[in-house]
Amino acid sequence: MPGESPLDRASLRRRPLLGGLLAGLATPWPGFAATTPAPAADRETLVVGVEKDFQSLDGLVVASGDSQRYAWSVFDTLSSFDATGNLVLRLATDVAIAPDKLSYTYRLRSGVKFHNGATMTSRDVKASLDYILRPENRSSRRPFFAPFVAGIDTPDDLTVVFRLSQEDGVFVNKIAGYLLIAPADDLASASAFAQAPVSLGAWRVKSLKPGRALELERFEDYWGPKPAIRNLVFRVIPEPGSRVAALRTGEIDIAVVVPLPDTKALRAEPGLHVLAAPMASPLHVHLYTEQPDSPLSRREVRQALNYAIDERAIIDSVLDGVGEPLATFISRYYPYSTDPALAPYPYDPEKALALLKQAGYPGGFATKLYSPNDQPVELAEAIAAYWEQVGVKAAIQRMDYESWLKLMNAHKAEPMAITQSTNTIYDAVHPVSGHFYPGGPYADYFNPEVKALVDEVNHTYGAEARGQVFQKIGRILHDDASSVFISELYYVYAWKQGLNWSPQIGSGFLDFRAARWA
């Protein structure tokens, strides 16, 4: 009944038989030997257990999420992001933006060597972006650049000028996140480049073994501080339990994307560091609000759905405590963007009932909730159970991720779907415009105020100024309950205590340039 939490934590912890058994396997058994603290190989080698196979190493083409594991080790960029997502210069020494905002001039470092011994020039920068723009290369980055880039000039070897056809307030972030620099001559064969890319990163590709491992060796002519790790090995271990087991036996030094049920047990084990790093990825229920006869077109209903769920309880129970209640659609782990004073909706089923009554749905209504299989089914079950307490009966439509994505892309996952949103450029513009700007790929909620602010942010420059606009957007989306806000998402990393390393905050990029054994 209202006022009581419908799902006590014990009941939420009940998992299907198989899940329970697998979770049980994560707990140390009698006779368990403690994690081996020594390096898996030697003190100059780092072995990282990753969850996905390395299919193509062409970081200029593959999806950003895929390249996050190796991109910062093999490639380098004109500018990049520090540990918390602030822009920093790398291969560029200076960037100047023309007063009309239609031209960006980057001055390059001199004498920077590629893995093949060639020296980087502006020609290589131009070739790298041209490579992205050519449709035949099928680059996932192309949609971010093609509508804006009018041309690239190289007035001298150390100067490159990007000319834009229209203003793009986030262009510098795109250059930092998407434009990996490769030598012009090596980009002729996309297929060869995908297997052994040449760039300017601290390590170069030694071997790529599909389904097994990616082995990198330190590039001795690297332009930056020489990393302490000579050999960097990414071992592909898709099964999360096996990845954790490999860490426990000392076969790997770092396990990425540790399964949430294992987190608590690993934290209790000596010899390991365990850290949950926020992904700047808001987990939420996406709402289709544009059908006039839909209950979701009423703000009171959307607010009621937010008041009706206990985010903290869901995080503690379904996400094993790894999460953080979400106040609005924009993650607070972008370096700017969110108002720290904005608080998540409190759990208040009485208020939810009152709002439903006010909206003309005193007895609730029936609806559907799409749930992709990359999220735990218990999440959808918990949300539906909370809503049922206020009369909203959500039938869960569970499906594989690809089918769900197809529905989302076609705007057919209505009336609501669990989803998350992230990007790799530490700016909220793509998630926000994608979800809330007319014509956006997932735009199923429209608000003229938000549209106007997105238009404004596309012409707003600098972290502080953009942050102010995003804070306004975040406040509107919160107040208008554009979505049902659930949690910030985290990746959990575990590594040996003898290793000095910390994961990137706000993205899944893996950065080992400063890693060293104590």
Binding site: L25, Q55, P143, P210, G211, S242, T249, H430
Partner: protein, 306 residues
């Protein structure tokens, strides 16, 4: 024999073409890979451009005709995900899969056949009783779960074997056993049943009356006559082992053919799926052909092609 092989070859080509056609159509009905290859920010024009680059904008009949023409030249296209030719990629994943399935098959035969033989020789004896337990556990425990238990016990707790990976024989022991248990259990039951039936035959009674030793009765007479269903079962199990190795490949990070295909299906990597199905069809046809020839060699009553 020559006529039989020719007829089988013609039938095999038809089977491969049919399999390729079915998977060609099915994978295209499942979805559009451009949704997975491009970010959400891509426009409809971006997707249309990519479909054009991939040749997916042409009528399906034209696409299939092109596929067949390229197939004749041994070219099955470039993997969307790996950006390398699909056929060599699929073939490169075969040796680890064949090694795993082969080792699992050997383990299954080494465990199931002698155990079944002993169980048939002394019904309700210790071998029969323990065999029942082994068979029930093997046929009720999912291989991936057995695999996780083995990792926990033999790798994490006792540090006897590596948890996962592809390397020397120590990497092969656990995945092969986890994969073999189900087949070993089936072979144990089948061997027991077949040999028990053979031991009740008149020719066995005759052999015993003639003073043939128990060992010779069991191995030379009963087992040989019970061998045909065991061989047929074993060959069918090899195909099943290859197919069901997917979960074991994931648990033990074994770089196999099965996981490659499953990943390709989830990523709608058409070329890899098509190449995988064609290669699998060729493989299974070859296994079946070898089985037929072996059965004919063992039983003179079987005449190939008659």
């Amino acid at each position: 024999m020559g006529g039989f092989l020719l007829r089988r070859l013609a039938g095999s080509v038809a089977t491969i073409l049919l399999a390729s056609l079915v998977i060609f159509v099915l994978i295209r009905l499942v979805g559009d890979p451009t949704h997975l290859m491009l970010p959400p920010e891509a426009t409809d024009d971006d997707r249309a451009l990519l479909r054009q680059e991939l040749g997916l904008d042409r009528p399906m009949v034209v696409q299939y005709a092109t596929f067949l023409f390229d197939l004749l030249r041994g070219d099955m296209g470039e993997s969307f995900s790996y950006r390398q030719p699909a056929l060599p990629l699929v073939i490169s994943m075969l040796p680890p899969s064949l090694m795993l399935a082969g080792a699992a098959m050997l383990m299954a035969v080494a465990l199931g056949v002698p155990w079944g033989l002993l169980a048939a020789y002394r019904p309700d004896g210790w071998a029969d009783r323990t065999g029942r337990v082994f068979a029930v556990l093997g046929q009720s425990g999912p291989p991936f779960f057995v695999g996780l238990l083995l990792i926990r016990l033999l790798s994490v707790n006792w540090r006897l074997l590596p948890t996962s990976g592809y390397g020397d024989v120590t990497h092969l022991v656990m995945p092969a056993f986890a994969l073999s248990w189900y087949s070993a259990a089936g072979l144990l039951r089948l061997t027991r049943a077949s040999v028990t039936e053979a031991l009740r035959s008149d020719y066995i009674l005759t052999a015993r009356i003639k003073g043939v030793s128990d060992r010779a009765v069991l191995l030379r007479h009963a087992l040989r006559n019970a061998a045909l269903p065991i061989i047929t079962f074993t060959s069918s199990q090899f195909g099943i082992l290859l197919g069901s190795a997917v979960s074991i490949e994931a648990v033990f990070a074994w770089p196999g053919f099965g996981k490659l295909i499953v990943d390709a299906i989830s990523q709608l990597d058409y070329t890899v799926v098509q190449a995988g199905v064609v290669v699998a069809a060729v493989l299974f046809i070859a296994i079946n052909l070898c089985t037929d020839i072996l059965c004919a060699a063992l039983d003179p009553r079987i005449r190939l092609g008659s």
